[in-house]
């Protein structure tokens, strides 16, 4: 196994929005433990994107990214949670998704991020694709440490 105690943080781009500006509602956390949860979570994220004022294409991007991350947590992470937060930045509103799992973690984050998918062999961790769909993307993980992914997209970029 990879050396323990090693935690990789990949964060890009650096956060620029001012915190504490007051979102429009408390964050909502959903369980991601069953197949049904994956569908429930998609509906919840879709509703949240509509509330945040995203157009239909952006809605699709965010819901798809959420679907990838949630499925990741479910399949590779042994289940976890997905939290949806309405956020406010200097340019306008946005949505922040936090996906956590207590699984084995990702030992080689770089590969997981650059792998993406190609021919659907099914081994991609789904992170690369989700990252491309979102504006901000942070991963905290490490072998044996579980994984936390925080991803945001803004209505105005």
């Amino acid at each position: 196994m990879a050396p323990h105690g090693e935690s990789t943080v990949a964060s890009w781009p650096p956060p620029t929005h001012r915190a504490g500006d007051g979102g429009t509602g408390a964050p909502v956390t959903h369980q991601v433990r069953t197949e049904e949860d994956l569908l429930t979570v998609r509906h919840a994220v879709r509703a949240a994107t509509v509330d945040a004022g995203f157009g239909i294409v952006d809605q699709t991007r965010v819901v798809t990214a959420a679907s990838e991350l949630a499925r990741n947590a479910y399949v590779h992470g042994g289940g976890g949670t997905l939290t949806i937060e309405q956020v406010r930045g200097p340019a306008g509103r946005g949505l922040r998704l936090t996906v956590k799992d207590d699984g084995p973690g990702i030992a080689d984050l770089d590969t997981a991020l650059t792998d993406g998918f190609t021919t659907g062999a099914g081994l991609g961790h789904g992170l690369g694709g989700a990252r491309r769909l979102m504006d901000e993307f942070t991963v905290h993980t490490g072998a044996g440490q579980g994984t936390v992914v925080v991803a945001s997209r803004w209505t105005v970029r």
């Binding site: 294409v57 340019a91 306008g92 105005v156 970029r157």
Partner: protein, 292 residues
């Protein structure tokens, strides 16, 4: 709170409660005098705005919040001030209009208290208090105004971008989109969205992307183009790229960009001919929309 500040606060609250109509009247009159609002905000709207702001001030003052937090800590009051700025931003009023509106409110409030007492010290203390109360509102309203204007500018430039990427129907089942200017990410996304939607709406089988008006084609632009082409193909249509000048063709070759999977033509006319041939070729028993 010091006793005198408490007394001032109480007197002001009372004035707001008992003379709310007068205060609103005076405030509206002062703003109309300033004549900075143009014709976009009516007197009736000003009056409505005044009434709700004054109504919101009373609970704010009656609370425990320190004077310089009253405006920001009360959602109703906070909203009223933000509404004040946004209204003026949208009406195209000058930035000073917002600040002067707040100043006018101060004057109206002070005048109301003056009708209750002539004590110089008290009036001075009241003026100081009103300043501290509303300066926060002034700052907040200015900030909001700026954000409001920026949002309008953003939306307008977005609309402009959309207008400058029109999709035209050249032929039955053939669309064309002439690209003009630089192809950055934002632009490409708008082009993609408009084009794909048009393909669906017109049930077009071929989209001609004319790049005559695109000054430079580098790897980034080529990538954006490829993305658009891939999306079109996913939907079951196809693309032809036209308007490739010799210099552009050379650049593309030199950069090693691979456009070999896309049909390209030098002129729009040639592209149209190619498009029609593509469609005719998908006649009886042919392969429509086959992904490559």
């Amino acid at each position: 709170m010091s006793t005198s500040e408490a007394a001032v606060r109480e007197r002001l609250t009372r004035a707001l409660q008992e003379r709310d109509e007068e205060i609103a009247d005076r405030w509206v009159a002062l703003q109309l005098e300033q004549a900075l609002l143009g014709t976009d905000i009516s007197e009736a709207e000003l009056r409505e705005e005044a009434d709700s702001l004054i109504d919101a001030l009373v609970p704010g003052l009656e609370s425990d919040a320190p004077v310089d937090r009253v405006v920001t800590s009360h959602p109703g009051l906070h909203q009223a001030v933000i509404g004040l700025s946004l209204r003026r931003a949208r009406a195209g009023a000058t930035p000073t209009a917002t600040s002067l509106a707040v100043l006018a409110l101060k004057e109206a409030l002070l005048k109301a208290v003056q009708l209750e007492t002539r004590d110089a010290e008290e009036l001075f203390a009241t003026a100081v208090f009103i300043n501290r109360l509303l300066d926060v509102a002034g700052a907040l309203s200015f900030e909001t105004y700026v954000e409001g204007r920026e949002e309008i500018i953003r939306r307008q430039s977005q609309q402009l971008m959309e207008l400058s990427t029109p999709v035209v129907r050249l032929w039955k089942q053939v669309l064309a989109v002439p690209l003009i200017g630089t192809l950055d990410t934002a632009r490409t996304q708008i082009v993609m969205e408009n084009l794909l939607q048009a393909i669906q709406d017109h049930e077009a089988l071929v989209a001609i992307i004319d790049i005559t008006g695109v000054p430079t084609v580098d790897t980034a632009v080529a990538q954006h183009l490829m993305q658009t082409v891939n999306a079109v193909r996913l939907m079951g249509a196809d693309c032809v790229i036209s308007g490739i000048q010799p210099s552009i063709a050379q650049t593309i070759a030199q950069l090693g960009i691979d456009l070999s999977t896309i049909l390209t033509r030098a002129t729009l006319a040639d592209a149209l001919a190619a498009a029609i041939k593509l469609i005719d070729g998908t006649g009886p028993g042919g392969e429509a929309g086959e992904s490559r």
